[in-house]
Subunit: 266 residues, 2 copies
């Protein structure tokens, strides 16, 4: 079987870990008005595709901040995703900033104009709404099946809306342009014990499994303190090996290992 | 009345806007396992105290990343707050990284040891738990009334737990060390109309109120599209002036202005 046969038609494969940065653009997140609802979804979906989210920055609607941040992170990461600031109003400046960062003009994209013309009733595609059809020269559209106004990509930067339902649809549309590596998988063992009791043996376990990231997360449930121990890596067999040892460690401490996460009640 | 009489005993006053950065430290946020629940709370509470949150970074439990990021942002902002990575396990490396960033040793703090000694039953304050009493030399403690293990501060950096209940308690404990300026206040007028319809007049309004930040945020409610228009600034009178004009603009477009936010049902 050739390599080509293993490669999904829509997504190229990378031969090394692929790292992404997310820029959440918007005063409304930084003021606490709006709770971000996109980070966790993007992290999980990118991981499904073999791309690790390695940094997130939340920045205000300020041109110099957006331009400088974008130029810094697009040089440092394989991919950059942005959310927010691509609507029709004066505070939507993301497209302008991406064009400035890349040093290219911001043009009305004919295909985007066609999409918006079909979406809005006759006479309602005004100058403000036409702003949503502007794409930095050389960029391509990311479809938006919810409300038509597209996202776009240029270079390794993918620009999406902040509204979660629209962002999620646009994120799916970026898939054909992304090369992924192996998804990170995880296994979790929990126990009703403080993390301080298992810390020494957990550190030794991490030492024996340098290819895994082992994390310890406390929780409160039914009035009792507990700890979830999460093992992450690209090889499911290694995670199960570590889990076998972890269950034995927990039993050795006189506690009962519980498979998976326990929801936090704090 | 003297200036001193206007100054709360616990908090000094700044004579210019004060800007803060938040570092959310933890693989569990970047993987999407854990939804951050601290950003919005910190943003609002800091604003109550006259401090503007201007950037947030979510970074992994990687020493070089934490040290480099911390040194970058503590030079760029008045204050830096961190959440996460101060527990008893091997993946809790924030205190070590802060000490490295400041180039100072990480010492057991006698007062922190005393707190933990009273909190844990006899014999249970093991080596792992003693890790939580380590503070970079020259730093001070931030109290934790929930589970005693303190946060700490050094220079302009404030280090807190990631568990929301503990973080919230520790944040209150940073208050005496923070100088604030004028809190930003906001006013909101909503209407059941797409933001594209009001965009041109909104931009003109923003032009007339350069001292305010005017943001436009779409929502869906009862199956209808709407827009919340948020005016933010330090002078409530200016916000009310702009709100009067905004209500007139909305009525001029044949719609009914609604005071305040409408909850999003998406």
């Amino acid at each position: 079987m050739s390599d080509a046969a293993n490669t999904p038609a829509t997504a190229p494969q990378a031969d090394r870990p692929v790292r992404a940065c997310l820029l959440i653009i918007g005063n409304e997140i930084l003021s606490g008005r709006t709770q971000d609802a996109n980070l966790a979804h993007i992290a999980k979906r990118l991981n499904d595709w073999g791309i690790q989210l390695r940094e997130v920055r939340v920045i205000p609607d300020v041109e110099t901040t957006i331009v400088d941040t974008l130029n810094e992170v697009r040089a440092a990461f394989d991919y950059v995703f942005t959310t927010g600031g691509i609507g029709p109003t004066h505070d939507d400046i993301t497209a302008d900033c991406v064009a400035k960062a890349f040093g290219v003009p911001l043009d009305e994209h004919p295909e985007a104009i066609a999409l918006l013309s079909r979406y809005y009733p006759s006479g309602e595609l005004n100058a403000a709404r036409r702003r949503m059809a502007r794409v930095p020269r050389g960029g391509g559209l990311v479809p938006n099946p919810i409300s038509q106004a597209p996202g776009f990509y240029i270079g390794n930067v993918f620009v999406m809306a902040g509204v979660p339902s629209i962002m999620r649809a646009q994120l799916e549309g970026t898939r054909p342009h992304l090369a992924g590596y192996k998804p990170v998988v995880s296994g979790t063992v929990s126990a009703f014990m403080g993390e301080g009791r298992i810390a020494a043996e957990l550190e030794a376990l991490q030492g024996r499994y340098a290819d895994l990231d082992i994390g310890s997360y406390p929780f409160f449930k039914r009035g009792k303190l507990g700890t979830s121990l999460v093992m992450r890596g690209v090889d499911p067999a290694r995670i199960e090996e570590a889990a076998v040892e972890l269950r034995a460690i927990i039993k050795g401490l006189g506690e009962e290992p519980i498979e998976g996460e326990l929801a936090d009640e704090v």
